[in-house]
């Protein structure tokens, strides 16, 4: 079993940091709200102008600070408000995801996806999926910075 800690820690609530682009995915999250679609309360959203704004450091930093999972979502290919920000970002994301998996960070800790402004349902099911995976993996300790 690759999950590092599968004994459910009592009282543990997963913390997932989600970086959402302002124009599509953040709007998609709002759409989920407008539709009153219910999803798990584990996600903390950070709004950024574009998926292209996301420095891989932000993601590593979230893990270092103790996030159990990180989600990044931008506009679907072709929909980027900034024309090509998501395309440029996609290259970085592909490399970062490959690298983290390579060093043994469990698949499922870090997810990238596209959610458009009207895809409230998709947003809710993304959160469902991401939360489920993180719950199954348990708390993320591998990259967390801990002081005693």
């Amino acid at each position: 079993m690759d999950g590092e800690m599968n004994d459910r820690v009592p009282g543990w609530e997963p913390r997932i940091v989600a970086f959402l682009c302002n124009w599509c995915s953040y709007a998609g999250a709002d759409s989920a709200g407008v539709g009153r679609l219910q999803y798990p309360a584990a996600v903390r959203v950070i709004r950024v102008p574009c998926a292209g704004r996301i420095n891989p450091f932000f993601i590593l930093s979230a893990f270092q600070k103790g996030a159990d999972g990180v989600l990044v979502s931008g506009c679907h290919p072709g929909d980027c408000h900034y024309i090509s920000g998501n395309y440029s970002a996609r290259r970085k994301f592909a490399l970062l995801k490959g690298l983290l998996e390579h060093i043994g960070i469990e698949e499922g800790r870090l997810q990238f996806t596209w959610v458009s402004a009207s895809e409230g349902e998709r947003f809710a099911s993304v959160i469902d999926t991401v939360t489920e995976k993180v719950l199954a993996l348990g708390p993320a300790r591998r990259m967390e910075k801990r002081y005693t």
Binding site: E13, R15, V17, N22, W23, C24, Y26, A27, A29, D30, S31, A32, G33, V34, G35, R36, L37, Q38, Y39, A41, R44, V45, I46, R47, V48, P49, C50, G52, R53, I54, N55, P56, F57, F58, S61, A62, K65, G66, A67, C75, H76, G78, D79, H81, Y82, I83, S84, G85, S88, A89, K92, S116, A117, S118, E119, G120, E121, R122, A124
Partner: protein, 1011 residues
Amino acid sequence: MTPSGPTGAVLVLGGGISGIQAALDLADSGFRVYLVERRSAIGGVMAGLDKTFPTNDCSMCILSPKLVECGRHLNIEVLTNSELTALEGVPGAFTATIEQQPRFVSTEKCTGCGECAKVCPVKLPDSFNMGLSDRKAIYRLYEQAYPHSYMIDSAVCRRCGLCARKCSAGAIDLDMQPRTLSIPVGAVIACPGFEPFDASLIANYGYGTFPNVITSIEFERILSASGPSRGRLLRPSDGKEPHRIAWIQCVGSRDIHRVDNNYCSSVCCTYAIKEAVVAREHSGGNLETTIFHIDIRTHGKGFERYYERAKNEQGVRFVRSEISRIYQDGSGSLILRFPENGRISEEVYDLVVLSVGMVQDRANREMAERLGLHLDSHGFCETRTLSPVETSVPGIFAAGAFSGPKDIPEAVMGASAAAAEASAMLSHSRHTLTQRKSYPPEKPLLGGRPRIGVFICHCGINIASVVDIASVRDYAAGLPNVVLSEEALFTCSQDSQRMIRERVAEHRLNRVVVAACTPRTHEPLFQETLREAGLNKHLFEMANIRDQCAWVHQGEPEKATQKAKDLIRMSVARAKLIEPLPQAFLDVNRTALVIGGGVAGMVCASSLADQGFGVHLVESAAELGGNARRIHSTNDGADVDAFVSRLVESVSGNPSITIHTGTHISDVSGFVGNFRTMVENAEGIVEEISHGVAIIASGGEASKPDGYLYGVDPRVLTLQELEDEIARGNPDVTSSRNAVLVQCVGSRDEDRPYCSRTCCSKAMKLALALIEANPLVNVYVLYRDIRTYGFDEQFYLEARERGVRFLQYDPGNRPTVEIVEQDGRKRLRVVTTDLVLGREFSIDADLLGLATATVPSAGAAELAGLFKVPLNEDGFFMEAHIKLRPVDFPTEGVFVCGLAHSPKTIGESIVQAKAAASRAALVLCRDSIEAGGTVSVIDGPKCSGCGVCAALCPFKAIEMDESERKAVVNEALCKGCGLCASSCRCGAADVKGFTDGEICAMICSSVARGL
């Protein structure tokens, strides 16, 4: 007309994408706009579409920012549920009478929470979803609608009052009355759009009887993520997933037998392909899609590639056959019978989509009547090829599908073109009726400690019923740097706004955090409040505890409360670090540079001159005119030669236009508002031109054909040459007995996988001209698909009626030409195999016309480099967005029109040229260019000058200072996307307003457990 000039306001009829575009163009160039829409929200047909071709962009994603922009515009008044009842007066001084039906819900008070609809007892089919789902009597047209507020459908409302009692914002007023407005305007733009063809008129297809026969518009809703099945592909009869879907093309178009529609709706082929491709994506590829068609008309920019990809890579099947009848089997599936290879085939489909065309309905006809507009026999507004947005009534301009079938970019261009006409007409009254807001001076922060005020919104019960507001308020009060934490029933209400202003003063707040709904809709409102309170608008941060918290965790109040605290803590952490962002203002040079002296360039130049701006017109040839000098008449008989002569004359005689013929551009520097361009003539003399915008209208040219004995035998001509010869009355041509026209010579092949768009119509024109000159001539057109889209379809019909023979060839087996000696004469023998009849034809021709491709002009690549704008794979200029920004570039202040953009007819070039003029005028009419705000910033000492930011910047807003080896941001061009910041290894680039520090502070506080 008033003594001081025309009325500086414009009435825009129709709130679809055309109306929105026209309204924004006009309002941004200094006119007051009244946008009148019959329905309860603007957005039009586009709001109901799922994806858009040929990029499969999400329709709502690209539309919704425009809706918001329109809705928030200080100088656009959106009048929904409204209808024009009368227009009086003269051009420049009309008075419009508008009748507005009551909404019964205050758009100011309604927060869009939707509690009212939950309690409403009246349920009815939702017409926005084509009746595929239900709505209540109190409803919102669609989720992202503007106005965002709900409305009551008085036709079905029982006036029970449940909604009014439920509404904690007190927004519902059941006694609201209709009102009549009398509005003075200088000009009118009519763009009321179109209606989809009523498919039940074709009885053989069983639409309305067979539940699984639906229209393409209904299918869009089925595909849409916000549609009735939330994007799941299900068929109406039993909610099962279909595995075989058929599209039937030309339903209500190109049909003079079942309905009297002799035009092509232009968009249905490509949208059917899109629907098939998207449907396959939805089903994970486990779907058979077949499109039954006559011709495939993918004549638009990028459409041919889209078609080829669908056919060859995405598994969409294309069958050239007309479906005569549809039968239904016991399971609700549908049996299609059609002729194929001389036999009748039968296939069963789970779902049949009818690709319905565009028609005009009675409401539009009545409106046209009130305006006094001439309509054509189908009810479309009459316009002329060479004056494509002018109607029969001066001062009233037509845009969008009202004047004929159009796709979205054509509609957008038409709208901008109409705006340009209105703007030219009213240019003396620019800025006379517009408003500008003033604010108190900003208080300096003087490096003081952050003093943060947190305001927590109940949103009636929307937030408060889930989140424990008191506990959140107390928690926020204890956060570092928070000096005030206060709650409000509705933070967005007028009195709460006043309260926030007062608290800012009382508590010397220098940062404000509002925990309420989404910043996407409300941030501007609160920022406005901050400005009124004397704070820089960027000293604001919002925590979304409604849409992304209370609403989505309704069953988990404790977790929702914890999340609200976390979100506020994150916002406070960011607020501590935010700084006021100054706005810089740069002067604008109010002169335009137009590159290219063809029709597009000249039309653009004169439109800009008419709108009151100076123009430099640069042409590389010795005289103006371009390709249009070789188009002698239009299909509808207009005299192009005369038009071009008049245009050259008027441009040459216009004191605002400086003409530079025989010159080319050698260097370009600067940016929007302040370009400097070097223009060099043949003697090498260089002139420097300062200008604020540039319009690239560098044109295109006909490709030189390979083969077909072109250049070998004098009887072989390109269509352009043939047109010259006919116009000249060359007897060798006009007396020919057997004329053969070969289509797609150099287009739609491997080298040029695009359609040159104009050649099919041109072939009809020339075939008819040959017959006109010599009724005994036999004309053969060898084609692949006949693409006489729009109203040009009638010329195809006419050509067929007048005996032109159409032989369809396979691109893998092209017609051949050889010279055959017979009876002592050299005959041009054309051999081709007709796909329809399946047999070979041998024609001894004495005239062979080749429909060559339209290719970009030779200098396009160099111009693209100079202006830092992109070309597409085919070498045409690539616009910023194929749908909604068809004449703009990502680089601000540079525009494109005419053949430089893509192959198009002269009429389309004129529209696009005027559209470019309209867009360019938006820059030129400004007092200054705003720079700064949320823009990128480079820390010089850290920058290593590697250039990655400049290479990636989608807006070319970063330049490399080669001598200093540093990147430099042009704040006038930067949009603040932050791609540079995330890509800068040295940490030199950052984005003001979204700094690394601010984002890291949020990350750090997002997971601080137990804090």
